[in-house]
Each structure stands twice: as structure tokens, then as C-alpha cells.
Symmetry: C2
Amino acid sequence: MNIVLLSGGSGKRLWPLSNDIRSKQFIKLFRREDGSYESMVQRVYRQIRQVDREATVTIATSRTQVSAIHNQLGTEVGISIEPCRRDTFPAIALACAYLHDVRGLDLQEAAVICPVDPYVDSDYFEALGRLGCLAETGEANLALMGIRPTYPSEKYGYIIPEDDREISLVRTFKEKPDLETAKTYMELGALWNGGVFACRIGYILDRAYEQTGLRDYHDLFARYETLKKISFDYAVVEREPKIQVMRFDGGWKDLGTWNTLTEEMSEPVIGQGIRDESCENVSIINELNIPVLCMGLKNVIVSAGPDGILVSDREKSSYIKPYVDEIRQQVMFAEKSWGSFTILDLEERSLTIRVTLNPGHSMNYHSHDHRDEVWTVVSGSGTAVIDGERRPVAPGDILRMPAGCRHMITADTELKLIEVQMGHEISVHDKHKYPLPEASQIG
Amino acid sequence: MNIVLLSGGSGKRLWPLSNDIRSKQFIKLFRREDGSYESMVQRVYRQIRQVDREATVTIATSRTQVSAIHNQLGTEVGISIEPCRRDTFPAIALACAYLHDVRGLDLQEAAVICPVDPYVDSDYFEALGRLGCLAETGEANLALMGIRPTYPSEKYGYIIPEDDREISLVRTFKEKPDLETAKTYMELGALWNGGVFACRIGYILDRAYEQTGLRDYHDLFARYETLKKISFDYAVVEREPKIQVMRFDGGWKDLGTWNTLTEEMSEPVIGQGIRDESCENVSIINELNIPVLCMGLKNVIVSAGPDGILVSDREKSSYIKPYVDEIRQQVMFAEKSWGSFTILDLEERSLTIRVTLNPGHSMNYHSHDHRDEVWTVVSGSGTAVIDGERRPVAPGDILRMPAGCRHMITADTELKLIEVQMGHEISVHDKHKYPLPEASQIG
């Protein structure tokens, strides 16, 4: 199975735990059997691997997510990087070109395209395998998955099939309906359109060529910014006369809001949280290292992280986006390919950060024009390079990097340091990267 | 007027903004005319000064509050330090001995004793002045203030006066009643007992001598721990046959819980807070520098500070204490006589703190046995003394203090530094204080 996971979105709907650079799919909310937590993307990746050890998994995403993907899934997973946001058709075309030109897949092979964030069981991924086979061997160019509705939802588009067999042709598509219409659709045997489909790679590249004049990965990548923003539905699905739909009857849930997400959490409290006896249906998700105490609340979600604190009625939590859009703030936490950082303190002319480097990882060799930095290593060991000079580092070591000084650090074990940045203009954009000098190569 | 403010309590009822060392009376919640905020103790002290510029104000409290009092009120205010907690009679006896022996007041002068945290207007302090005069000139040994009830409260004791004149003799006292009884008391013209009274200093010292054999300040202070825990009501009021009560008809409120406190806040949001349109009767008090977003809540209080986050139904917030008792945690914020500190990060073998020194203030000259410390000065200027050597400090300066190193810093302007503590055993008890060596005296 070749699966392309569409990983988009700035994830404001799950603020404060998601932010501009940390999308909801990377928040660790699901308890593993060993008691640790995994994110949506880790859960999906693990489930795919359990169903098909040989699956080619490619994540179609923006550059900002690459660090988090590598941090959470390792480096084996394929990533098709969209140079900018251009809606689903260009993203899928680029990912399919990547599968053919970079990963060497045959044009006749099928790719299964699905969102990265469905909350499902392994039967879903088994169904994706069958959907891929259907796309390679079936009578239609496109094979869609139709999810059997469990209630008359107003949130999803509907697929009306020709008949009620497991696989049938699509009669028509319907936009998100109102409640009454949704009930009628359900009576007609309509299925939810979860944005999951399969087709041959060559089919997508033909569509790409028709619409953009490009089909080669490097061309698509280089000229990505010039491509028209258009969804796959408009660009392909609506123009395709013959589409098959495969029914899926298993559990499927779109965890796009705090309300739907917390319903699937195995425990009501993650992190430090206390609920008094009068609390009813209260979920606490707390990434801060201070306790949350809830008293006398009903149907409330409390979510606390370095970016902020949300206290919301369950139903209302779906309407969070415009409020979060109003909050202009520094990103206080980010996962990077080498580890993570959390902003601890923001003053007028200084910024204090806790930096955690994962074992064996290095940050880039870099300098800043407008700020001095001080590192105090508090745990772990590794090697720093400061203006070309290597030195081992251990807890208690202090490194001073005035503006202009080139610096980096590599962790042998997990390494934590407190970084104090000082200057009149502290900005993430004040950064120059350099190759590491030969003489100071590490490892 | 000689006024003694009783400042007790660990203030767990206003967690997370109050904690073991920061009582509720020091939280800055009340907006001044200039837009800044003042605490209960600052508000009361300002009100007393407005009514009587010459008033002698003494705060009877424990040692843990001295730093915060000096920080908020300056050093002019009198402080009677209780060496340990021994209930109100020993505290009042010690404070009156302090007024006589340390401040030199005559035994015939009256002291007005009242809690530090009533929420009142200046007419209350004008009434306290009259209460003091009544104690000096009236026919009874004790003059109580009786607050005219505004509703049949079950929270207060009641005073039943002999008649309904402004000043009358007390017929009897009643314990906190149930609702029906409270209604009956109100019909009888009963008054709330707010724990406010006046009497001659000599009268208190006579009672102290009768019950403890001591009346001298230094004796009471030295043997304070041996004194019996007994309330002023039991020790004095109940044994006194002739007590006058003066009616007070003005506004008076006991702000002991989040519910009563937030009702008196002039704005519903202090700090960074957003409430969506569907919120009703929601208060946000946020001392963190990240935003709180509330959606769809009714009658809820959100309070966030370095020690934790409370989300509570208004009514339920009165029952917070047992839950807070369960939370065993490091104090994350404290006011000191020289400024304040906030814990930014707690790791297994390190602690990162932001220290703020007020202009002209110094921390103690001290050392630690079991931890190394690093200071990075991020703003302001001052002078440090490290193992006897003076050096000026400015932003960007780094000072390294290994275990055993004696150190202190004096601020010229407000000075902020990031302190990283590192060691296997990091404890507030690991501290030795020293006199500053002659050669390095500052100022």
C-alpha cells in the first residue's frame, strides 16, 4: 500500500496546544499501552505499520511541520514538502509526482490519499488497502471511501451511491446539508465523504499535466507558488464521470475540535489536574507543570499549555477559531527536528528559553546579528562548537555567544540547557546558518 | 488613631494567587485611579492614611509576611511579629505591648484592632477613629463595632445590643446562626460582629498579665511559644461584663473567597483574558503572561498564577481549601523585602528563577552548600559582592557561584536576573547568611 497522508492546517481549533507551527496532529493525547502518550500522527503511523509493514507512507505537508514529523516518526517516513499552501489538488499532484520521481513508484500503482487525523481502528487501514487494490483493478479511475453515517451530521459532504452494494458507482455528491436534509440522505443510503480516495499515480499526473502543464516533481516543486489554489474535489472529482465508492462500516471520527477530541481520550485528565466531586463531564489537558483545579463545572474542557489557557463549554469549543485569530502572540513552544524549546520568560529586552536536544541530534550551526546569548547546561552531555572551536559540555557549563558568534551543540544524551537571549531586537528571523567547519565535524 | 491590623492566615482560600507565604491580602487586585493595581493591605493602609495622616498603624503578623509588607507598604509601618501562631488573644496582647514598650504609647491611649482585609470605604476608618475615642472616654472597657446586616448571613456572629441607639451596651453575643435564626436576629436589630473593637492599651496588658503572668513586650515575645492558643473572644470578650457597641451603617465586606472578592473587582478581567459573547458572569484573574480564553461559561471564576490554575463555579469556590491542602507543591512565586522571584522551570537537578530586585534593595549575603548558581543579568544595574569582591553588574553580565561561594547583589535601578540553580538537593533550607564584609559595604 502507498499511502499519502495530507497533513495541513495551522490547527487553531485546538489552541492552546496547537499553534501556527504545531498542528493538532502532533499533540500527544492518546495513551499507549505502556502508559506513555502518542499524537494523532504517531497513532496513525503506528496503525498503518501494524496493518501493512511494507506500506510506503508519505506525508504531504508544509516545511513548518517537517521538524515535528521527524521528531515524532523518525526519518524513514517520506515527506512531500509543499513550498507554500496551494489547496489539495496541487498538494496531491506534488505528492504523487514525489512518489513516482523520487520514490520510483510505477505510474500504474495506486496511491491512497487520506487526511492525517482520522481517529480510527486498524480495520480502517485494512479498508484503505482494499481501496488501493480497487483503484488498480477496478473499472473506474477514482475509488472513494464512503463512511456509513452514524447520525445525520451537518459537518460532512455526502456521497449518494447508485446502489447499496459494498462497492458501487457514485450517483452524485452532496454538499454539507442541514439536519433535515441529512436525515433524508441517510434514508437514501448516502455515505459521508471523509476525503479518502485512491487512484493510480499516473491518473493524478495526467490531471496535473492537463491543468498545469507540469507533471515532473522538480518542475511542480519549483513552480509550486505559481499554481492555482484549487481543491481536489473541484479539480478532479467533479469532472470525473465514473467514480467508484467503497463502503466503510467501521469506527471513524474526525477529531477536529476539543469536543470531539476529548470524547476519545481514554482518561478525562492528562497532566496535573484535579476535579472536585461536583464536576460532571469535565476534561483537563494540561501541558504546564502547575496543577489545574476544577470545581463545580459541567461539560467543560480545560486545556493549558505554554501558549495559553482555554476554558470552554464543550459545544462552544468548536467556535474557537475567530477568538484565537485575535490572539497575536509569540509561539511559546515548538518541536524541532533536534528536540524542542519552551519560552520560560519574556522581558522587554530578554527572552529565556528551555532547550531540549534529543540524543544524537544537533541544532544548526548559526549566529545572530542583534542578540547575545548565554547557555547554561543543566542536564545531559554533548559537544558544542563555538566560532569553530569544539568543546565537550556537561551540566554547569556556561557558554557565552555575543552577537555574530557562530554556535551549535550536539547532544550525546538528552541535553537540556537554559538559553538567555539579550538584545533590543529579539526575533526568530535574526538567524544566519552556516555549514559546520571541517575541522569541527562531530561524530 | 492607633490601629492594629490583624494579618493572619495562609490564604489557601484564594489559591492559586495566595499560597503558604503569600496571603490573600497581598494580591494586587484592586484598580487604583492611575490604572495600576493595589492589594487589600495597600488599599486599607492608603485609606487609613487618607482619613488620619497621623495614625499609628501596626500590623500584627507572622515573620513570613514581613517581606511582603515592607515591599508593599515601605518600612514606616509598624510590624508586631508573632514568633509563631497562637490565636488572636496572644497576638493582640503582643501588639499592644509593642505599642507601649516599643512605640512608647501611653497605657491610657486606645488601640483599634481590626482585620487587615475588610473591603470598605473611608467612612469605615472614620468610624474606627470614633471607636477609639469611645474606648478612651466611654463608660465600658471594650468598644465593639457592630455592622448593620444587609442580609441574614450565616457566616457571621451577631451582637445583640440593649437598645437601638448609635452607641449602646451589648446585651449578648450570638454564634453564627442558621438562616431562620439570622432573620430573627435581624428583626431584633442585631449587628454583625466583624471582629473590630477598641480598648485602652493598659486594659489589654492587664488581661495579658492576668492570664499569662506577662505584660512586657520582650517577655511576651520571648515566651510566645509557651502561651496558650486562645481567641480574644474567649479570653476577654466573654468575660467582660460591660461592653459598648457602636453601630456602623456603611459598606463592609469580608473578601475571603474568590466569590466575594471578584464581586468587588471593578473589572471582570485582570491580566490577559478573553471571554466570548456567550459567557455570563465570568471573572478572569490571570497573573501569568499567557492569555486565558473562556467560552460559553456561566458563573465561573478563572484564576491563574505561577502556582496553578483554578476554574471554579462561583458558589463552589468557597469550598476550595481541602483540595488545595492536597496539592503539595513548591511555592512558585514569592514577594521578598528586596523584590520578588518567580520559578520559571523545575527540572530534576536544576531550577530556573527570575529574580527582580527593587531599586536600592539588596538580597542577603549568603551561600549554599549543595548547589551551584549562575546569574545572567537581563536588565537594570547594580553591584554584586562575590566572595568579598565587589563588582558592578549590567545586562549581559554572567556571575557563577559554585557551592560555598558567598554572594549578594544590590540594585541601583530595578534589576532582573535569571538564576539557574544546579545540584542534587535543591532546597530553600540550604542557605547560610553572613554579614557583608566591611571592605565590600555598599552605599
